[in-house]
């Protein structure tokens, strides 16, 4: 066969390309191109009609010029004309020009529809393929509208040539992906599935791609493909290495088709039909067996093709996650690859093992390779391989090996590439927190992180250590001692100064007894770092100093001296100056009591998803994120960040809270220019909830003699946000693009005070701003909420753009109630809880006293959040009851007691929460002296776990 020679057929084109290549400078090239463009333009405009060959040649030159990066603004019509040519070479150039340039000129598409239609109908397979390829390459909606109906017909027509079927299948796939609505399913779909049986392997290969795509959107319609795919796969896998002739690739039968079939099967769960499943498992086993056979060729192509199938097989095994035997075999196979001399295989084995690590069946098998993986982390030359090793260590980490893995990662960090340091830092921080058994180890690990890679320790990481130290009093003394020691180093990272400054300011008193870390020593140590630090750190240290004055009155004079120094009081930085002035005044003016109140130890931070996790997820692709998710789902972990529900303060995105008041359609802030408009808008805002009371009102009579339906859902499901306040008192109640409403509330006995903060998020003034509280039904008889100030002044009628106004609500609980006041104030009955401590004996006595069936409410429910004892405790405390230790014989269970204080009566409440980690269920039992209260509290609380 004659091979193609240079510029075959178009001498002019070859000459032009040579000229361009010979240009010595960019200018010369542009000059030559302009000359050519002028020439072509004159030819196209000339009187003489061009023959097909010339047209083809000039269009091809234009295409070449375009590909060099120059704009082409003519020649499109000539290209379109070429489509109508009978000659393949001319038609091909026309189609090529359109496919390549179509982005820049979509008008073209309308001009060519006719030509494409003719070619599709031509019964000439070469022309049909050209047209199909053009549609597939352009793939626009206009193309879909014109041809989506024709292509299925061509695909399943009995007389279509194989190559046409191949192209038609993929062309249809492209149109379906671009605009699925244009490709109606029909009787052709069943016939497409049967293409899996086609004799021509190329047709099957193309068809599998199409079916995979279709079945993702319509899994049930394409279910029949499972058994067909399995039998096709089985035939390929069991065939001898030469059976498939053209489709054998380096002694591997049909590797790509096998891979595609295995991926198709991953769209579905394991086959239900036992025979099909048996056959498939046989296939998977055969692939695993073949991996152990000696290679049939030394060529890398042979092993690559074979292993492409192997890795896809392992993916399917992991996808099913139901065959322990296969999972362990897969793991062993990958274990062999971990030490293979091919870097590609080591990389892929690490990557694939990462997913195996999260299967309960293979997690232990993966862990046996820990030494090899650690070694890879230390010795691999390719940073991406080391990264996979770090991912895998992260994925295989559990309580048993956390210390080893964390220490190896820390060691690696010292030499790690800059590119991956931050990620390693995040991973170490997360593992240390997640698997910390004693928190001193956690503190040590984080301080080590700062020491080794301080620059890569982001705010999230050091904030987190402060949160954890603040929330766990068992580690505070140790933390203070450790940071104090760390700060002794002559050169320590600024992040260390931040952590040290904060911790000593809060807990420095815990080590002040030791003369080596007496208050003056602590202060001078911190202050020795002061001048080298950035403004933000110095600001933090100033706060530490004022806390010192409170903690250690003996340091007052020294610190006041520092604050008084000109370098502080007249600091050019406004923040520093202000802090110095204010702290100095505070320390001089305020009494010890006031100072102690102002500078009281920070309250515990609300538990929530670690911000570090969120950051890592943002940073990393699916690999790490999924490993993380897996980790987070591990219910046995007793970590602080086990996927706790976000606190209201983290819920600051507009949309979810917008749902709360049903305000999705709120117009953007710029929309209401007139004052009346703004006023109306806000009336609408508050009309939203007021329209809801149909859900709420509970007539008094019915309330006193409740039928089961009367309790109803105490909180509509949409009020998820509101729900979060059941166990909390402060946070963001509502937020959309216009308005944020924050809540701070406190409750004592049957009285409550609630501060509402209305923040105008727009730059426009709100006028006639007037929030009102609606009591659904006769709630007023149960709960009295009065406004703290005269109505006219309660909230300024105007709220400036960006400003915030405050409203105070005084609330009195007159008697028990179920439905919270509207504007959805987070006032639920449990707010009036008074915790009651009692001994086990008393508890059981009272428990027995409340043994009437109607006094008890019980709910058994599935856990919606990871079952974490610490979190549960925090929630129960936030709910308002006291937590009683050593009452329940089972230490896993929680027992609480409290009294609901209302004006009319007091309701004693006992509760018991029994988690079942195995089943991911809880049983919650409430006993109170008033039946509706039992049920209502039970409902409220059950939604929190």
């Amino acid at each position: 066969m004659p091979a193609v020679s240079k510029g075959d057929g178009m001498r002019g084109l070859a000459v032009f390309i040579s000229d361009i290549r010979n240009c010595k400078s960019k200018e010369a090239e542009i000059k030559r191109i302009n000359k050519e463009l002028a020439n072509i333009r004159s030819k196209f405009k000339g009187d003489k009609a061009l023959d097909g060959y010339s047209k083809k040649k000039y269009v091809c030159k234009l295409l070449f010029i375009f590909l060099l990066g120059h704009d082409i603004d003519f020649g499109h019509m000539e290209a379109v004309n070429l489509l109508s040519s009978n000659k393949y070479t001319e038609k091909q150039i026309g189609y090529l020009f359109i496919s390549v340039l179509v982005n820049s000129n979509s008008e073209l598409i309308r001009l060519i529809n006719n030509a494409i239609k003719n070619d599709l109908a031509s019964r000439n397979p070469t022309f049909m393929c050209l047209a199909l390829h053009c549609i597939a390459n352009v793939g626009s909606r206009e193309m879909g509208e014109a041809f989506a109906a024709d292509i299925p017909r061509i695909l399943v027509a009995g007389d279509s040539m194989d190559s046409v079927k191949q192209s038609a299948a993929l062309c249809l796939l492209r149109l379906y992906k671009a605009s699925p609505d244009l490709v109606p399913m029909g009787e052709w779909t069943a016939r497409v599935v049967h293409l899996l049986n086609d004799q021509h392997m190329g047709v099957v290969t193309a068809a599998v791609s199409l079916i995979t795509c279709l079945c993702k959107k319509n899994p049930d319609d394409f279910k029949t493909c499972i058994s067909l795919a399995v039998s096709r796969l089985s035939r390929i896998v069991s065939s001898a290495s030469t059976d498939l002739q053209d489709y054998t690739y380096y002694f591997v039968p049909a590797p790509w088709l096998s891979v595609k079939l295995l991926r198709l099967l991953q769209c579905y769960p394991p086959p239900e039909d036992a025979a099909v499943k048996g056959r498939l498992v046989e296939c998977l086993e055969t692939v695993l067996n073949k991996a152990q056979e000696p290679p049939k060729s030394k060529k890398v192509q042979h092993s690559n093709a074979k292993n492409a199938i192997l890795f896809e097989t392992i993916s399917l095994i992991i996808h099913y996650d139901s065959e322990p035997n296969l999972l362990v075999r897969a793991c062993n196979q990958l274990g062999q690859f971990l030490q293979h001399r091919e870097t590609n295989l080591r990389y892929l084995a690490l990557e694939s093992m990462c997913t195996l690590a999260s299967s309960e069946f293979s997690h232990e098998a993966v862990k046996t390779h820990i030494d090899t993986v650690i070694n890879a982390l230390k010795t691999e030359r390719d940073v991406s391989v080391r990264q996979r090793a770090a991912d895998l260590l992260y994925a295989m980490c559990d309580r048993s090996n956390a210390k080893q893995i964390v220490s190896e990662m820390l060691r690696y960090l010292e030499t790690a590439d800059y590119a991956i340091r931050e990620e390693i830092v995040l991973k170490v921080a997360i593992l240390a927190e997640k698997y910390a058994v004693d928190y001193s180890w956690y503190v040590d690990t984080i301080l080590n992180l700062i020491r080794i890679a301080g620059d890569y320790v982001s705010e999230e990481v050091w904030y987190r250590v402060l949160q954890i130290v603040t929330n766990r009093d068992d580690v505070q003394g140790y933390a203070a001692k450790t940071v104090f020691e760390a700060l002794q180093a002559p050169a320590c990272h600024e992040n260390m100064v931040k952590v040290g400054g904060y911790i000593l300011g809060e807990f420095g008193n815990l080590i002040a007894g030791d003369p080596r870390s007496s208050p003056p020593v602590q202060f001078s140590l911190l202050h020795s770092k002061f001048h080298l630090c950035s403004v933000a750190t110095r600001a933090l240290l100033l706060s530490t100093y004022i806390k010192f004055i409170n903690l250690f009155p003996e340091t007052k004079a020294t610190i006041q001296g520092v604050l008084r120094a000109g370098s502080q009081l007249r600091n050019a930085d406004v923040e520093l100056q202000q802090r110095a002035v204010e702290y100095l005044t505070l320390s001089s003016v305020a009494s010890t009591d006031v100072l102690a109140t102002v500078l009281e130890e920070m309250p515990p931070f609300p538990e929530r998803e670690s911000s570090i996790l969120a950051k890592l997820k943002r940073k990393k692709g699916p690999g790490a994120a999924s490993a993380l998710d897996d980790g987070r789902r591990d219910p046995s972990s007793n970590d602080i960040n086990g996927g706790v529900e976000p606190t209201p303060s983290t819920v600051s995105t507009p949309s979810p809270s917008a749902d709360l008041l049903g305000l999705r359609a709120a117009p953007p802030p710029a929309a209401p220019p007139a004052s009346a408009g703004a006023g109306n808008l806000l009336v609408d805002v508050f009309d939203g909830p007021a329209a809801q009371p149909s859900l709420g009102p509970t007539p008094e009579e019915a309330f006193l003699s409740p039928g089961p339906e009367d309790i109803g859902p105490p909180i509509p499901e949409a009020d998820e946000l509101l729900n979060k306040f059941v166990c909390k008192n402060n946070g963001v109640l509502f937020e959309n693009q216009l308005l944020q409403i924050g809540v701070k509330s406190e409750f004592r006995q049957n009285l409550g005070r609630m501060y509402l903060f209305y923040g105008n998020k727009t730059s426009v003034q709100f006028q006639n701003f007037s929030p009102t509280v609606v009591h659904p039904g006769d709630l007023q008889t149960h709960i009295l909420s009065g406004l703290g100030q005269p109505p006219t002044k309660r909230v300024a009628a105007q709220v400036d753009g960006g400003a915030q106004v405050q409203q105070v609500l005084n609330i009195e609980c007159l008697r028990d109630f179920l439905t919270p006041p509207l504007l959805s104030l987070p006032v639920t009955i449990n707010k009036f809880f008074q915790p009651t401590e009692m001994a086990a004996q008393d508890f059981f006595q009272r428990w027995k006293q409340l043994s009437l069936p109607q006094q008890e409410a019980q709910k058994i429910f599935k856990a919606n959040h990871p079952m974490d004892a610490e979190v549960t405790k925090a929630k129960l405390l936030g709910f308002g009851s006291a937590l009683l230790d050593n009452v329940d014989p089972n230490p896993e269970n929680f027992v609480g007691a409290g009294i609901i204080q209302t004006k009319a009566l007091q309701v004693g409440c006992l509760l018991r929460l029994e988690p079942n980690a195995q089943a991911q269920m809880y049983r919650l039992t409430l006993r109170t002296s008033k039946e509706p209260v039992s049920r209502h509290l039970c409902e409220l609380l059950a939604q929190q776990f």
């Binding site: 004659p2 091979a3 193609v4 510029g7 390309i17 990066g69 393949y88 091909q92 150039i93 090529l96 390549v100 982005n103 390829h133 597939a136 793939g139 191949q166 993929l170 062309c171 796939l173 492209r174 992906k177 190329g202 290969t205 193309a206 791609s209 489709y247 690739y249 590797p255 790509w256 891979v259 595609k260 991926r263 192509q301 690559n304 093709a305 292993n307 492409a308 890795f311 896809e312 992991i318 996808h319 996650d321 139901s322 870097t343 590609n344 990389y347 892929l348 997913t355 999260s358 299967s359 309960e360 030359r381 390719d382 991406s384 692709g621 699916p622 999924s626 897996d630 789902r633 219910p635």
Partner: protein
Amino acid sequence: VRLKGQGKRCKRSEGLEIRFILIQNRAGKTRLAKWYMQFDDDEKQKLIEEVHAVVTVRDAKHTNFVEFRNFKIIYRRYAGLYFCICVDVNDNNLAYLEAIHNFVVLNEYFHNVCELDLVFNFYKVYTVVDEMFLAGEIRETSQTKVLKQLLMLQSLE
């Protein structure tokens, strides 16, 4: 206790799908760019430069895969030319690595192909690619079949 079935990656959002194919020389000159996703011209130029920067710094001890934005590049070097395929991160690396090797049909088609053949016959290279890949999917995997088809087209006027 690890929960059954929860561990697996949520993947398979797409089938085997190619985002683009690039053939570049060591100097970064593009010898073929085939796009299966909509990019505007500036974006294409940026991608071309980035791919070149990522791929040419790697040596034989490195893998043939490199993470690239939210995708990955699977590449193979033949003499002075880099053949690069950009796919989803969950796609099968080795399958694409060998799909690239199917480009050896160029060798027979152009009779010991060299870089210049791709320059002077750029319009034929597109035909070769369309035979092997279409709509971002692998269309034909048999080198014999592809070559037969190419020679048949070659014989047409």
